[in-house]
């Protein structure tokens, strides 16, 4: 009669076992009423004659799928993904490039050269693992801490640095704060600041794909465990399930939403537990293990393309501050950060794996790190020299065609600038 069966953790030798989470093993026992289920429109469930409230302890915690241990060794050889040398190196080099970009752009904000920045430390494995498992045609709706996905997709450091500087070569025309990247060409929807708004949008885009003949594209939507508290997250889960959309809803659970720890963000068994409750296939994965993330997304993609939406919760730790506007030592101990920077460092894990395969060594590390660093520094110096977009760009793209009232506002601005130009840094803006 115990609600919690004695099975404990399932042995995770195969990933499909994980997908069958909350299976009959941990389902509470019920007394059947003559073997008949109730026929309510809202539930076909057995009747019982005993009150039993279910709570978070009624089920075993959803286990965390991993391929590599802390030393970059494959735990179960059957789970080692079949990745070629080029892909593995591309994944690792993207992590290094991302680390170098984060380091330099974070510093540049501190020096007052850009207005804002957000680092990606601790989540590099999530970025490259998921990006490598997707097709370049799959549409990505990101939150804001997925710079590695952009890099892996082929967005250049130059494009990203130009965005952070908001110069005239920024594809976003300098309208956003730094780190709000976007690339139509590479199927990366421009980042939006409001949290979780991208989630029901991703589901809608997936529905559009589903209706296309011979669809071979899915949508992946990244969001944090904090964003998962927004109403839009629930909307996305519910719409994805009921409308059977080819979408992967990918939660980056990094432990903190700015300063708010998960304990104050949600109760219950995290974000993954909401999946089965809402009719989604759910999987929890070790986000510090790029290969585990790769396997998880590869399998999720297969399901999604069969119009079976998937929720993935990748567990990680936000090693950096939330942003340049935040000092996380105000709300968490340094030792905690240290632990995740070393033992569970996703970059280190993949490096050890590559070294064990003879694909990488200290020399390569040194050479490539320098190369990656120099690229960012050089790009930054160039980006700084580029002018801001022409001020008139401020009025463009509000509508497809500029309506008369906006034309009028632009004319007012023009007259104002003619009269008072000495009060504005007009030389910083591109001429027409």
């Amino acid at each position: 009669m115990a609600l919690k069966s004695g099975v404990g953790f399932l042995r995770l030798s195969r990933i499909n076992q994980v997908v069958r989470l909350l299976s009959t093993h941990s389902r509470p026992e019920t007394i059947q009423n003559g073997g008949l289920n109730a026929e309510f429109p809202g539930a076909k469930a057995p009747y019982v004659t005993e009150i039993k409230f279910l709570d978070e302890n009624s089920y075993d915690p959803i286990p965390i799928y991993r391929v590599l241990d802390n030393n970059g060794r494959v735990i179960d050889s059957r789970e080692e993904p079949n990745l070629d040398r080029e892909t593995l190196l591309n994944m690792y080099k993207t992590m290094i490039q991302l680390n170098q970009m984060d380091k330099i752009l974070y510093e540049s904000q501190r020096q007052g050269r850009i207005s804002f920045y957000m680092t990606n430390y601790g989540e590099e494995g999530i970025h490259v693992g998921s990006a490598a498992a997707l097709s370049p045609k799959d549409l990505v709706f990101g939150q804001y801490r997925e710079a590695g996905v952009f890099l892996y997709r082929g967005v250049t450091v130059t494009e990203m640095v130009n965005q952070c500087y908001g110069n005239h070569e920024d594809p976003g025309k300098g309208r956003h704060m730094p780190i709000h990247y976007g690339s139509k060409q590479r199927n990366l929807v421009t980042i939006s600041s409001p949290l979780a708004t991208q989630m029901p949008q991703a589901v809608g885009a997936a529905y559009a794909f589903k209706r296309m003949p011979n669809n071979d594209r899915c949508v992946i939507c990244y969001f944090g465990e904090g964003a998962a508290s927004e109403g839009d997250a629930f909307a996305a889960f519910n719409f994805a399930a009921t409308l059977e959309c080819p979408v992967i809803l990918f939660c980056r659970n990094n432990g903190y939403a700015i300063s708010t720890p998960t304990r104050e963000q949600y109760r219950g068994d995290g974000v993954a537990a909401r999946g089965p409750a809402l009719g989604l296939r759910a999987l929890r994965v070790d986000g510090t293990d790029a290969l585990a993330v790769y396997n998880a997304v590869l399998r999720a993609r297969e399901l999604a393309l069969n119009n079976k939406p998937v929720l993935i919760e990748a567990m990680s730790y936000r090693v950096g501050h939330h942003s340049t506007s935040d000092d996380s030592t105000a709300y968490r101990p340094l030792e905690e950060i240290q632990k995740w920077m070393q033992d569970e460092n996703p970059t280190r894990k993949l490096r050890l794996y590559l070294e064990s395969k003879g694909l990488w060594d200290a020399e390569a590390e040194k050479t490539y790190s320098k190369e990656a660093r120099d690229l960012v520094v050089r790009t930054m110096q160039e980006a700084e020299k580029k002018k801001k977009p022409n001020w008139k760009e401020m009025f463009e793209d509000v509508y497809y065609d500029m309506p008369p009232h906006i034309q009028k506002q632009m004319q007012h601005m023009e007259k104002h600038l003619e009269k008072y130009q000495e009060h504005y840094p007009m030389d910083q803006f591109q001429k027409e």
Binding site: P194, T197, A206, R211
Partner: protein
């Protein structure tokens, strides 16, 4: 015998009550049908619900990417605007969503971003507010924030708004002012079946996201000869429905008919001919047509059903004062319209 008399008396009382209730529940509203056809060709008698249904039918027929969805849309929607469409086009194109306005709006934005034509229904305009963030922060800014890389212009959100007389405070609101403050959106309100069909087709085909607020009092009460073929009417272009020189009366949606009634009253009582302008859309709105009319009449009255404070009327009054300084300009709620039209035409 006494008991029978008592029963008859009670019955009389009941009839009187029913009569009183009918009077109390009905609003003083006269519909002025459009007589001008926007295009040549065959017409069919349609009410506004049928005209909207027809516009969606034509869209689903001609645009294979088009989808129509919202709460209870599969069976036709609570106002029946999507009636018969699922049977005709299948349940992957006309479908129910979970009861979640922010989800409907977000889902619609995603569809449009991925290249589909999205026609989303919000069951009542009063319930559009959970979708406010998606519409104002996302739909309105999708093109702007991406530097023109992404857009969701193929999105149209339909929502029934305005009062009918028995809707109470949560089935009567006119939320156009909230959306009129969001650059990037277009906010359109039709005044009848012909306008509804042409404007809805314009909204659907427009390259910008549109919010189409349907005055629900007109769904069945407004009947016109509507052209059967597809046609569009311009968004952002006001229409002068009645010419005059005494005063310019500006409104949109159902309010246009209140203004037409007031103009008729002014003419019969005072011999003053008022010009009536249907603004058609409150974002963008046609400053030129309104101001040209006011330059001619020298007086302007704007009336809307939505609350007075911060309403579009204030914006119109201010713009009119800048472009056409005049004798008298007032912004009103509809209850006051008739008496103020008389005042405006007579006193000012």
């Amino acid at each position: 015998m006494a008991s029978l008399t008592k029963r008859v008396l009670n019955l009389n009382k009941l009839f009187k009550h029913v009569d009183n209730y009918t009077k109390r529940l009905s609003s003083n509203f006269t519909y002025f049908p459009d007589n001008e056809k926007p295009v040549e060709g065959e017409t069919l008698k349609m009410n506004m619900m049928q005209a909207i249904n027809n516009a969606m039918d034509l869209t689903l027929k001609n645009d294979p990417t088009a989808v129509v969805f919202g709460e209870d849309v599969a069976f036709g929607g609570v106002f029946r605007c999507a009636s018969g469409l699922q049977e005709k086009y299948g349940n992957d194109r006309v479908f129910n969503t979970p009861l979640c306005e922010q989800g409907i709006a977000g889902f619609a934005i995603g569809l449009a971003t991925a290249g589909a034509t999205a026609i989303a229904e919000i069951q009542f305009a009063d319930y559009i507010f959970p979708a406010f963030d998606q519409l104002v922060n996302e739909a309105a800014k999708a093109r702007y924030r991406s530097g023109g890389q992404f857009a969701c212009g193929a999105l149209t959100v339909r929502a029934p708004g305005g009062a009918v007389g028995h809707g109470g405070l949560y089935h009567s609101q006119s939320p156009e002012a909230f959306f009129a403050h969001a650059p990037g959106l277009k906010v359109v309100i039709p005044r009848g079946p012909i306008a509804a069909k042409g404007l809805l087709l314009s909204c659907i085909q427009d390259r910008d996201p549109c919010i189409f607020l349907e005055p629900k009092i007109l769904y069945r009460s407004a009947v016109e000869e509507v052209p059967v073929d597809s046609y569009t009417l311009p968004i952002g272009k006001a229409q002068v429905l009645r010419e005059g020189d005494a005063a310019t009366l500006v409104g949109w949606g159902a309010q246009v008919h209140v203004l037409l009634a007031a103009a008729r009253l002014a003419e019969s009582r005072l011999g003053a001919r008022c010009e009536v302008v249907d603004l058609v859309s409150v974002l963008p709105w046609d400053t030129e047509t309104v101001c040209n009319s006011v330059k001619k009449t020298g007086r302007c009255l704007v009336a809307h059903e939505a609350p007075l404070t911060g309403g579009p009327g204030a914006d119109i009054a201010a713009a009119v004062q800048v472009s056409a300084p005049l004798l008298c300009c007032c912004v009103l709620l509809w209850a006051d319209v008739c008496c103020c039209v008389l005042m405006c035409a007579a006193v000012c």
